[in-house]
Structure formats: structure tokens, C-alpha cells
């Protein structure tokens, strides 16, 4: 009899909790993959496709599923790779050698306006709608929106788009990282006179 009561109680409890959990899983269902969202937020959103995926989001989803390595994003460079390693708690990977850029100044596309024939091919290629123009009209790049993905270069039939690094102005100028110039000298004692005073 006591065993029966215990069994009944346990069955009752598990039914109740099962119902609660079942309800919660429906009610609080998370749409999409939260990990992919997090990864996506770390990617530079150039949508350049250099990772072999068609855009940042698909690459983020592939990383979240563990199908892609974290070092395939050349625009993000080392910073992005380290951030991804941190987020996913995996070992950092070395970047591909050809992806290491010499200058860290971001590049933007510039349309050489004399040469543009107004074919609209680059407009269709731009992943962030940063090129304005109309058929048989000259096109131009909205510099502040350009991500420097270079996707507009191949479709251009007259090769009139060039990539140019942004000019250094007082707005985007950076202090250089101090170079550690330590040498192994014998240590010389230094008197701090002012402190003594």
C-alpha cells in the first residue's frame, strides 16, 4: 500500500512537472540560434564573402554549428578571431598568411566617375546598398556606408572602381602602440631626487 502511494505521488509529481516543462518549452521557445546571434555580432559585417560563406550571418551560423573554423574572416583580422575564440572558449587559430593586411586603415570603394558607364551592376552587387545611381547615370559610393568588401569590383565591366584606404584625419588618428625597446642591460640604480625632497 505504502509503495503504491509513493509510486502514485511520484507519478503525479512527474506529470505536473512534465506539464510545466512542456508548457515552458512552448511558451519560452527561443527562435533562432542565440549562439549564432552572438557570433554574428562579433563579425565585422562587411558581407564580403571572403570566408566562403555568402555573408556574415551564414558564416556565424556555420561557426555556431561548429562547421567552420574561426579564422576565416580577413576583414575582422586577429581582433575578431580572438573575440570569437573567447566567446566559444576554443583555442585561437593563426590567420591565413595572405589575409594579414599591412595597413589597418579601413578601405572604401571609390568609383572613378569619368569611366562609369552607368550599368548598375555594382549596385546589385553591393551588400549594404552603399552605391547610388541609376541606369546610364553615373554611380557613386556612399563612403560612410561602404564596408570595403570589394564585391563591387568583379562585376564592373569597365574596371572603374578602385579601393582606397581612408585618409588619416584628426578624427580617426590613433596613438601608435609604444614599441617595447627593452634591452638586457645591467640594471643601473636610478635616484629619484624629487621624491627625496
Amino acid at each position: 500500500m505504502t509503495i503504491l502511494t509513493a509510486v502514485l505521488i511520484l507519478v503525479g509529481l512527474s506529470t505536473v512537472f512534465g506539464l510545466i516543462l512542456g508548457y515552458a518549452s512552448v511558451r519560452f521557445k527561443v527562435d533562432g540560434d542565440p549562439l549564432a546571434d552572438k557570433v554574428d555580432s562579433l563579425l565585422p559585417q562587411t558581407q564580403c564573402g571572403q570566408c566562403t560563406f555568402p555573408g556574415c550571418r551564414p558564416y556565424a551560423e556555420a561557426i555556431a554549428k561548429g562547421e567552420a573554423p574561426i579564422n576565416q574572416c580577413p576583414p575582422g583580422g586577429e581582433t575578431t578571431m580572438l573575440a570569437l575564440a573567447d566567446l566559444l572558449d576554443v583555442e585561437p587559430l593563426a590567420l591565413n598568411e595572405e589575409d594579414i593586411k599591412e595597413s589597418d586603415m579601413p578601405e572604401v570603394a571609390i568609383i572613378v566617375e569619368e569611366d562609369c558607364i552607368g550599368c548598375t551592376l555594382c549596385i546589385q552587387a553591393c551588400p549594404v546598398d552603399a552605391i547610388v545611381g541609376a541606369a546610364k547615370m553615373m554611380h557613386t559610393v556612399i563612403e560612410s556606408e561602404c564596408t570595403g568588401c570589394e564585391l563591387c569590383l568583379p562585376p564592373c565591366p569597365v574596371d572603374c572602381i578602385i579601393m582606397k584606404p581612408l585618409d588619416t584625419t584628426i578624427d580617426n588618428w590613433k596613438w601608435k602602440q609604444p614599441v617595447a625597446t627593452e634591452k638586457t642591460y645591467p640594471i643601473i640604480p636610478i635616484a629619484l631626487e624629487s621624491e627625496a625632497k
Binding site: 546598398d129 596613438w175 624629487s194
Partner: protein
């Protein structure tokens, strides 16, 4: 002998707070604080950068070739939302010779847009003054007063050059109880505030009263380091009859002039990390700013000149000058007796927090408080960044930690930044670093620690901007995908609608025919069908017939073959 009023007696006994750390570098104040402030004169050319502070450029409102009067507005502040800028006025009369790029005082040594005025030496005032003197400021509405301060292009003259009107407007909303006036001037070599307080104490107090009236504060504390006894005396004399303005002598220690540090000393309160003094009911202003507020309101003179210390062992006669904004450093050096052989470096600001300029053909701006022409050896004693000695490894002695006025762990910050682990540096409250340079000053290994922090702060800012841009790009890309999807859907819908329309038309036509009971039509239809059937039947018959009798063509061929065979046999 001076008589002390009761409030000043309290000041003597006021218990002062202390901040953590601090250093005593060689102050060199005596080099330049003896001679009275002298007007530097009008140079041949003035170069006025459109941006004199952090934020955005002012917008020029004069054209090249235009004649300008002294005090005329030449660039007005940027009215865009969130833009931080201040009006710029012509410091003297002359002609605008160019609005173009010119080297500006910036650690990068880069050029930026400037208005260049060729002066005519007449120093002619504008016939219609943009700012008319306001006699009794208490009678006019506070907003008009604030507008005047904005019109006059006044910015904080302590060094950061934050637009004063913006700061005051922000404080009007939060209840400010105490106004802190910063006369500490803790940075070595600089004596411009010292001289100003000695010579213009009444005007400064008048400016302070305007600010007090504007923000409805109850009291004012003026903090002055005790290595400026003459300034303290002059200020006390000027405040003899003021019961709510108190001049407080504070111990000399660098960086007591830091905003948070001075507040800690004067009130004992600590401004929380990431917080503003206004949260504690405090507002701080520099003495020179108070003076320029007096000039703008009472005298109607916009901010077109400021006091600058020209000092160091690189000039013959170090002293303080009243300098028109836009005067070049080279001209200032000339006024101070010319440079000596020892002038290896030109520093804007003091040796601890200033930055080196590569050229002296650079204009002074509103934020310039000192032009330090100095030898490397003299500079080295306060800043290892200029040291020729090689940097030694960090030995974790912890001296930097002992002197940090912001209570940070400089050695930890250093290691994290060196390892490019900026996130860790952020976790160690890098943003609270005030760039004072105490850590570099005491570092026995001559590590230019502040350079690392400056680098990291800018890098973090860049990362934040890049992140913001990435977010915008993502939005734009997502919108593009949505737009393509939407266009496709719309096209499909249109096509479907068109198809449906056509079908409906057909159906309607058929229905109409059926309804009208047009028998001829149906008869025609049946006859058509019959005709088709008949045609099909004919075609079938023909086919059958063709199959029965062998085609003529093949017969002919066969006979031809036979004929050929015959010929062969005959031959």
C-alpha cells in the same frame, strides 16, 4: 597684511580631504611667475582651427577675401544634434586670406581646416558688436545669459576646452549646491592661472558670481595650491566681502588640479567611476574660464585671447602673455626673447600631460595654456617618454600603483595592453585613467606607461566605432535581403494577380457566350469539331493508303538499280 573675513577663517580650519597617490615633480613655477602678464601683440597672420576641442568643426561664416573686424563671428557652432563645438571670433581686424588645411596643435601633427586671417594691425572693433556688454546680469533671464556665454564661444580653459555653455546648461537641470573653481594649477612650469589670479582677482570673482547666479548654487570653493601664496592672498582680498565664496589653500601635490582630485580635496567626496560631479551637486570651472565669462558678460568681449605661459629653458625670458587665439608658437617664442640653444622640444601644455609639437609654425588654440620650449634633459626629469635611456623591463615594484591618483593598477594595465588584451585593461577601469603621468614619472624602468594607456583608450574607441559601423552594416544588409525578398514577393503576387485576371476574363467571356445562348456559336463549335474530325479522318485514310501502295520514289530507285545492273552485264 590682510584682514580675514569670517568665512576665510573657517577656510583656515576647514578639514581638507586627500586623494590617493600623487607626486612632487620639480615644479619650475618661479621660472615664469615673476613678470606681469604682457600683451603678446598682433602677429602678421592668425590661424584659427575650426575645431578647437573634441567634437565637431565649427562652420565658417566668412568667405576668403572678406574683411573682418575684431570680435566678429567668423565660424559659428555646429547646430547639428549632438555636435560639440563653439563659436570662433576674429581676434583682431584683417582679411581672411584662406580657409584651408593648416597644421594644428595635435599630437598627430596632422593638418585640419583653419581660417587664416592676415591682420592689418588696426585692431578695429566691429561697428555692430556681436556681444553688447550686459550691465546688470541679474536683471536678464538666465537663458539669455547662457546664450551670451555660448555666443562668446567660451570653452573650458583648463585644457579640455569643453564648451562652457553646454556644461552650464547641463548643470542647470541637476541641483548644483557647490561651485568648485579650479585654481590649483598643479602641472609643472605653468603659471598662467597664478598670474591671472594675482592680477585679475576682482574680475574672476565677478565671473564666479555670474556662474553662481546661473546655476543657483549656494556656495563656491576656490582651490589654490599653497605654492602660489600671492594668488591666494589676492583672491582672499577680492572675496573679503563675499560670505559664500571661499578661497582654500590646498597642499601642493600633482595632480591636485584634476577635476576629481580637486573635488576630493575640497569636499572629501569622491566622484564615482564613470560618474559626473553634478551627481554630487558639484560643478567645476577653471579660474580662466570664470575670467572669460566675466569678459563676455560684463565687457561684451568674446573669447579671442587667453593667458599663456611661455616658459622652459628654451626661451630667454619665460613669462606669461595675453595671446590672441591663432598666434603661432614661433611668434610667442620671439616675444619671450627668442629661443636658446637648449630648445630641443616644444610642448603644448605641461611636461606631464602635454604633447610634443614637431613644428613651431602651429597656432595656439583656446585649449593652449602653456608653450614649453625645453631641453631634453629638463623634460626627462618629469617625463620618461622623452628619455634617451632605454626602457627596462617592468620589475613589478608597484610604485606606479602607489602614486596613481585614480586608484588604478598601472602595472596590470601595462601588462594587459602590452599583450593587446584590451578587454582586461577595460576591466581594470582604464577609462578612469586621467593621463596624469604620475606612473611614468616614478617608473624606475622608464616605461612610458601613459603612452600605453593613450594607445589603448584610442584603440578601444576605434573598436567601439567599428562595432557601431558593423551594426549599421548589418541592419543595411538585412534590409537589403528583406527588400529583395519583398520585391520578389511583390513581383510574384503581381504575376499571379495578372494570371488570375486573364483567367477571369476568359471565364467571363465564356460565361457571356453561354448566357446569351448563342446557338450559332455552339453550332460553329460543333462544325469546327466536325471539321477537325473529318480532317483527322482524311489524314488517317491517306496514311493507310500510303502504306498499302509502295511509294513511287523507292520504285524508281529500284528500277534505276536494275538498269545499272543491266548496263554492267552488257559491258
Amino acid at each position: 597684511m590682510i584682514t580675514l573675513n569670517p568665512s576665510n577663517k573657517i577656510a583656515e580650519t576647514r578639514k581638507l580631504g586627500t586623494f590617493h597617490g600623487g607626486v612632487h615633480p620639480p615644479f619650475h613655477k618661479d621660472d615664469s611667475n615673476k613678470p606681469a602678464i604682457k600683451f603678446a601683440g598682433i602677429p602678421k597672420q592668425l590661424v584659427l582651427p575650426l575645431r578647437q576641442q573634441l567634437g565637431s568643426d565649427a562652420e565658417p561664416c566668412v568667405t576668403v577675401g572678406e574683411n573682418v573686424y575684431k570680435g566678429q563671428l567668423i565660424a559659428h557652432l555646429n547646430h547639428h544634434e549632438g555636435a560639440l563645438s563653439a563659436n570662433i571670433h576674429a581676434p583682431t581686424s584683417g582679411t581672411v586670406s584662406a580657409i584651408s588645411d593648416h597644421a594644428i596643435p595635435h599630437p598627430s601633427g596632422l593638418q585640419a581646416n583653419c581660417i587664416i586671417i592676415d591682420t592689418d594691425g588696426k585692431d578695429e572693433l566691429s561697428p555692430e558688436l556681436p556681444c553688447k556688454p550686459i550691465g546688470d546680469y541679474k536683471t536678464i533671464p538666465q537663458n539669455n545669459l547662457l546664450e551670451r556665454i555660448q555666443q562668446a564661444g567660451i570653452v573650458g580653459l583648463g585644457g579640455a576646452a569643453f564648451p562652457t555653455a553646454v556644461k552650464l546648461a547641463g548643470s542647470q537641470n541637476s541641483k548644483i549646491k557647490t561651485l568648485i573653481i579650479n585654481g590649483a594649477e598643479c602641472e609643472p612650469y605653468i603659471t598662467c592661472d597664478d598670474r591671472l589670479m594675482r592680477e585679475k582677482s576682482a574680475e574672476i570673482i565677478s565671473g564666479i558670481k555670474i556662474v553662481l547666479h546661473l546655476i543657483n548654487a549656494e556656495e563656491c570653493l576656490i582651490g589654490i595650491e599653497d605654492n602660489k601664496p600671492e594668488a591666494i592672498e589676492a583672491m582672499r582680498l577680492a572675496t573679503v566681502n563675499e560670505t559664500h565664496i571661499e578661497v582654500i589653500s590646498i597642499p601642493t601635490i600633482y595632480p591636485s588640479g584634476g577635476e576629481k582630485q580637486l573635488i576630493k580635496i575640497l569636499t572629501g567626496k569622491e566622484v564615482p567611476s564613470g560618474g559626473l560631479p553634478s551627481e554630487l551637486g558639484l560643478l567645476s570651472q577653471n579660474v580662466a574660464t570664470a575670467f572669460s565669462i566675466y569678459q563676455a558678460v560684463i565687457e561684451g568681449q568674446p573669447l579671442i585671447s587667453r593667458i599663456i605661459t611661455v616658459t622652459g629653458n628654451g626661451v630667454l625670458h619665460p613669462q606669461n602673455f595675453e595671446v590672441l587665439i591663432g598666434t603661432s608658437f614661433a611668434y610667442l617664442a620671439e616675444q619671450a626673447g627668442g629661443t636658446t640653444k637648449m630648445a630641443d622640444h616644444l610642448i603644448m601644455g605641461g611636461p606631464m600631460m602635454g604633447f610634443a609639437l614637431e613644428d613651431d609654425n602651429i597656432p595656439i588654440v583656446k585649449a593652449t595654456n602653456c608653450a614649453l620650449f625645453t631641453s631634453s634633459t629638463a623634460l626627462r626629469e618629469s617625463n620618461p617618454a622623452f628619455s634617451s635611456q632605454a626602457t627596462m623591463p617592468c620589475i613589478r615594484c608597484g610604485k606606479c600603483m602607489d602614486v596613481c591618483p585614480a586608484n588604478l593598477l598601472p602595472q596590470q594595465l601595462y601588462w594587459h595592453i602590452r599583450a593587446k588584451d584590451l578587454e582586461k585593461a577595460q576591466q581594470h577601469n582604464l577609462k578612469d585613467c586621467i593621463d596624469c603621468g604620475c606612473c611614468s614619472y616614478v617608473c624606475p624602468s622608464h616605461i612610458p606607461l601613459v603612452d600605453y594607456y593613450r594607445f589603448a583608450k584610442i584603440e578601444l574607441r576605434e573598436q567601439r566605432i567599428a562595432q557601431e559601423k558593423a551594426d549599421i552594416s548589418r541592419e543595411r544588409h538585412e534590409f537589403l535581403l528583406y527588400r529583395k525578398e519583398r520585391d520578389k514577393r511583390e513581383r510574384d503576387e503581381k504575376r499571379a494577380a495578372h494570371k488570375a485576371q486573364l483567367q477571369a476574363k476568359k471565364a467571363a467571356l465564356a460565361k457571356k457566350k453561354a448566357e446569351s445562348g448563342d446557338t450559332t456559336e455552339t453550332a460553329k463549335d460543333t462544325s469546327k469539331a466536325d471539321a477537325i474530325k473529318a480532317a483527322v479522318a482524311r489524314a488517317k485514310e491517306k496514311k493507310v493508303a500510303r502504306e498499302k501502295e509502295p511509294p513511287k520514289g523507292s520504285e524508281r530507285k529500284r528500277s534505276a538499280v536494275r538498269k545499272n545492273n543491266k548496263k554492267d552485264n552488257e559491258s
